[in-house]
C-alpha cells in the first residue's frame, strides 16, 4: 500500500478531466438554449453513441462477437432484462470460441 506523488497527481488530473466532461456538457447547454435541430440531434444521441461504441468491436470481433451480438439482441427482445441478455450473449460468444 503506497501512494506515489506523481501517480496521485495523474489520478487527480484524470478525475478533474472526467468530471469536467460529466458536468461541463450539461452546464454548457444550460447557458446556451439549444434550438430545434440541436434538440432533435440530442434525441438521436443515445442510440448513435452506443452504435459508435459497439460497431468497431463487432466488426473486428469475428464469429464469436457476431453470434454473441445476435444472441444479446434476441435475449433482450425476449426478456427485456439487461442481465439476462449479457449472460446469454457472452455465453453464445464463449460457445463459438470453444467450438472454433
Amino acid at each position: 500500500m503506497s501512494l506515489d506523488p506523481a501517480t496521485l497527481a495523474a489520478i487527480l488530473g484524470m478525475t478533474l478531466a472526467t468530471y469536467l466532461c460529466r458536468a461541463g456538457g450539461y452546464w454548457l447547454f444550460r447557458q446556451i438554449r439549444p434550438g430545434r435541430t440541436m434538440r432533435a440531434a440530442l434525441a438521436y444521441l443515445p442510440g448513435t453513441l452506443f452504435v459508435g461504441y459497439v460497431a468497431p468491436g463487432l466488426w473486428s470481433g469475428g464469429p464469436q462477437a457476431w453470434a454473441g451480438g445476435a444472441m444479446t439482441v434476441a435475449a433482450m427482445v425476449a426478456t427485456g432484462n439487461v442481465g439476462v441478455a449479457i449472460f446469454a450473449g457472452t455465453g453464445a460468444a464463449w460457445l463459438v470460441w470453444l467450438l472454433r
Binding site: 472526467t18 466532461c21 440531434a41 461504441y53
Partner: protein
C-alpha cells in the same frame, strides 16, 4: 412531462435495482482494469482510488496502457479528457430531470454519470417517469461493484490473465448492445444508426487505439437524424 420532477429515496432504490443486473456486465471489465493497473505498477490503494474517483473504465484502461514512472500526469489527463468527451454529450439529454433539480443534487448526480446508468435514465425519461433519484441510485449501483472489482483485479494480479480476445471481454460489448435495444424508436433510427456505425468504423481504422470513433460516429449519426427530420418537416 406533466409531473413535477422529484428526487426521492424510492427513485434511488428503483435505479439501484435496475442497474444491479447491468453491473454484472461490468464485473469482468473491472477485474481487467485492476489486473492492468497492477501490471502497470500501481499499488492497491492507487488502483482503488483511481476507480473510485475517475469511475470511467475505458479512459482508465487507455491511460494505464501507456503508464510510466514517474506517472504521465499530462498524458493521463488528456486521455481521460478525450475518452470521456462522450460523457459531455450525454449530460444535456438529462435536462428534463436536471433542469428541475437544485444545487448539490445536480452536481453530485453528474459525478456518477456513466453510459449504462445514463441509457437507463433516458429510457425512464422517455417513459414519462419523473423521479430523478433514479440516476444517482443507478450510478451508485455501478460505482461500488466497479471499485470492488478493480481492487479484486489488482489482488488477483498475475493469477488472472485472460488472453486478449477471450470471450469474457465480450461482456462489456454485450452490455452496450443490450442497452441499445430499448433505445430503438423505429425506422427513423435506421439511417442515423447506420451512419454512426460507418463513421465509427472508418475513424477507428484511421485512429486505432483512440476513442475518437465514438464521438465522431455519435455526432455524424445524430446530425443525420436531425437533418432528416428537418427535411421531412419542410
Amino acid at each position: 412531462m406533466t409531473d413535477a420532477v422529484r428526487f426521492t429515496r424510492a427513485g434511488m432504490r428503483r435505479g439501484l435495482r435496475q442497474a444491479l443486473p447491468v453491473s454484472l456486465g461490468i464485473l469482468p471489465f473491472g477485474i481487467v482494469t485492476g489486473v492492468v493497473a497492477q501490471g502497470a505498477g500501481l499499488s492497491l490503494a492507487e488502483t482503488t482510488l483511481m476507480s473510485a474517483t475517475v469511475f470511467a473504465g475505458a479512459s482508465q484502461l487507455m491511460a494505464l496502457g501507456s503508464w510510466a514512472h514517474p506517472a504521465p500526469v499530462l498524458g493521463a489527463t488528456l486521455a481521460a479528457l478525450v475518452v470521456n468527451l462522450r460523457l459531455a454529450l450525454m449530460g444535456p439529454a438529462l435536462a428534463p430531470w436536471l433542469d428541475r433539480l437544485r444545487g448539490w443534487r445536480v452536481w453530485l448526480t453528474l459525478f456518477f454519470l456513466v453510459d449504462h446508468g445514463w441509457a437507463m435514465a433516458i429510457t425512464e425519461i422517455r417513459a414519462g417517469r419523473s423521479d430523478a433519484g433514479f440516476l444517482l441510485g443507478s450510478g451508485l449501483a455501478l460505482w461500488l461493484p466497479w471499485v470492488v472489482t478493480s481492487a479484486a483485479g489488482h489482488l488477483l494480479g498475475s493469477l488472472l490473465r485472460p488472453p486478449p480476445g477471450h470471450p469474457l471481454f465480450f461482456a462489456a460489448l454485450a452490455a452496450f448492445i443490450s442497452l441499445l435495444v430499448p433505445l430503438w424508436r423505429g425506422r427513423q433510427d435506421l439511417l442515423p444508426w447506420a451512419v454512426a456505425a460507418l463513421v465509427a468504423l472508418l475513424v477507428a481504422r484511421l485512429l486505432p487505439g483512440s476513442y475518437w470513433h465514438i464521438v465522431a460516429g455519435a455526432l455524424a449519426g445524430s446530425l443525420t437524424g436531425a437533418l432528416a427530420e428537418r427535411r421531412g418537416a419542410a
